[in-house]
């Protein structure tokens, strides 16, 4: 009897090999799910008393805090979008085999190694009022006064482009290389022009990959924190939501409030993820010739 029972389970895929999943499951429950639920319950236990939702109320009724959501989105969405859109034509030129491909790819990927601090120091040095960029503009008499590109929105934006672009490029390039080139060749023999091939064949196949790339780049940009402090204006135009959460936790030691802000942050982020995934699910999701 028990043998048949085991047999039936095995038919549905439940057998002893599933034990291999155990370490990872325990790990994700202990270090991700539990802390997350802990933070969620903590956020409903305000330090200064008040109702269940006091922390959330405090956050949303304070314009200085509430506006961090808009500030973060205003930085993260354009930066992620630009990174993905810029990566497409460049990756498109770099697919296939040609001389110097390895070198070019390496050059495009190298900015990953720069790190936030070198990028921040470099932006301050280079784009600052006495930096090379402004010096050049002044000498060429393009501008009369140095333009301000650091310690404001643009500083953070540039730093997100520098750190995010290589990452977006790598992902787009690898999705693009996964598309079977014979499809385009077939379209070409049927008389499709270059633009038609891109619009009708490559783009639809690439779109799901672009959505994933956008999401991952957006996650990176959304959690921007060090560069918002170092090259931005952390008290004003670049006061992002992660900064608000950090200040609540480590400057006011109000972990309940900090958890509430973290939950708001997670919720906003998941809304964007859900919208993109929903849009993606309406796209073509079949095989792209490689593993789609």
């Amino acid at each position: 009897m028990s043998a048949t029972w085991q047999h039936r389970l095995a038919e549905r895929g439940v057998d002893r090999r599933l034990w291999l999943l155990l370490p990872a499951t325990i790990f994700v429950l202990l270090l991700f799910v539990y802390p997350f639920l802990y933070g969620l319950t903590l956020s409903f236990q305000p330090m200064d008393g008040g109702g269940l939702l006091a922390n959330y109320d405090k956050f949303f009724s304070d314009a200085y805090q509430r506006d961090t959501i808009a500030t973060t989105l205003k930085i993260a969405l354009p930066a992620a979008l630009l990174n993905v859109l810029a990566a497409v034509p460049i990756a498109f030129r770099l697919r296939g085999r040609f001389r110097g491909k390895r070198l070019l790819t390496t050059i495009l990927v190298v900015p990953i190694t720069l790190g936030t601090v070198l990028t921040a120091q470099g932006l301050l040095n280079y784009l600052g009022p006495t930096g090379w960029f402004n010096r050049l503009l002044l000498n060429l008499q393009i501008v009369d006064n140095p333009i301000r590109l650091t310690n404001n929105y643009w500083g953070v934006f540039f730093s997100l482009v520098i750190t995010g672009f290589p990452f977006a490029f790598l992902l787009v390039l690898s999705y693009l290389s996964g598309i079977d080139p014979t499809l385009e060749r077939a379209a070409a023999t049927l008389g499709a022009s270059r633009a038609q091939r891109f619009r009708r064949i490559t783009l639809p196949l690439l779109a799901p990959g672009l959505a994933t790339t956008f999401l991952l780049t957006f996650v990176l940009a959304f959690s921007v924190f060090p560069s918002a402090v170092l090259v931005g204006n952390p008290a004003g135009s670049t006061r992002v939501i992660s900064l608000a959460a950090y200040q609540a936790a480590y400057e006011q030691y109000d972990y309940a409030y900090a958890s509430a802000i973290a939950m708001v942050m997670g919720a906003v982020e998941l809304v964007v993820v859900a919208v993109v995934l929903l849009w993606r699910s309406r796209l073509y999701t079949g095989s792209t010739g490689g593993k789609g």
Binding site: R99, G100, T106, I112, T113, Y175, L230, S259, G290
Partner: protein
């Protein structure tokens, strides 16, 4: 398209794209070189170049920031995270690549979530929990926190590699009497070396660069290089700017070595999809 190695083709749109790329990289070079020049410069105020050059800032940075200790911590944390995340993640990736079972989608989503969430969102509750149990502030807390995105990352990168191994090889070994243990050690492990290397190296690069989680859980003795750098830069005015520059150069040099090693083992274009390369000539 012929299968010959072709050179970069240039259409009008192509020229515009390359012009934009070149503009971007000229400015990027400016960003990087300004730090490099500054880290070797003496006084640098309102001129094109510093008034003189010196290497003293590197010595200063090395001593002032106790960089030796910081580098040792960084390497130790990264090595532990790599080993642990591969040990935990690879078996799970195997099950997810090979089997269908009830609840698979739920399990998969749970593993994916830590990658889709910004580190600060789960980092703050995680740090609170780690402090509660006395892990945070020490090396162990930093390692545990960094495992959270690393294990899912190993699962994600390993799965396509495992899918490429023909299951019939395993079946054949089983038929010849190999147990699960020896199938794993003698058949799968050697075949999966490229995948293991790829995910291990990528986790290494990610961990060395991971700021948020380390920042939230590290104590004074368990800071990694990124976090020490952040502190030295945000506490501006106390340190000479050039020695922060020198330290940033050291960090980038270290990351560059890791990346070059990584690119030797991992073809970056094969991360998410198996590439059908055009036949070589």
């Amino acid at each position: 398209m012929s299968s010959k190695v072709r050179s970069v083709r240039a259409t009008p749109l192509g020229w515009v794209i390359w012009a934009v790329v070149v503009f971007f990289f000229v400015n990027l070079a400016g960003v990087v070189f300004s730090v490099l020049v500054s880290s070797f410069g003496t006084k640098w105020f309102d001129t094109w170049l510093p008034s003189g050059f010196t290497t003293q800032w590197y010595g200063d940075a090395w001593r002032e920031f106790t960089l030796f200790h910081v580098v040792v911590v960084t390497l130790l944390v990264s090595a532990l995270v790599v080993v642990l995340s591969v040990l935990i993640g690879a078996p799970a990736a195997y099950v997810l690549a090979r089997k269908n079972f009830p609840g698979k989608r739920l399990v998969y989503m749970t593993f994916l979530l830590p990658i889709l969430m910004p580190p600060i969102t789960y980092g703050i509750p995680l740090a609170t929990v780690l402090y509660k149990f006395g892990f945070a502030g020490h090396l162990s807390g930093v390692v545990l926190a960094n495992l959270v995105p690393s294990v899912p990352f190993v699962i994600l990168t390993m799965t396509p590699f495992i899918e490429q191994v023909d299951p019939r090889i395993e079946d054949a070994a089983r038929m010849l009497g190999a147990g699960t243990r020896s199938v794993f050690l003698k058949i799968l492990a050697p075949l999966l070396v490229p995948g293991l290397l790829a995910s291990g190296i990528l986790v290494l690069v990610r961990t060395v660069g991971m700021f948020e989680l380390t920042f939230l859980t590290a104590g004074p003795d368990s800071q990694t290089l990124v976090v020490a750098l952040y502190y030295s830069m945000s506490a501006a005015g106390i340190r000479a700017q050039q020695s922060v520059d020198a330290m940033a150069v050291i960090y980038t040099a270290m990351m560059l070595v890791l990346l070059v090693v990584a690119l030797r083992f991992v073809n970056p274009t094969q991360l998410v999809a198996r590439v059908k390369e055009e036949p070589s000539e």
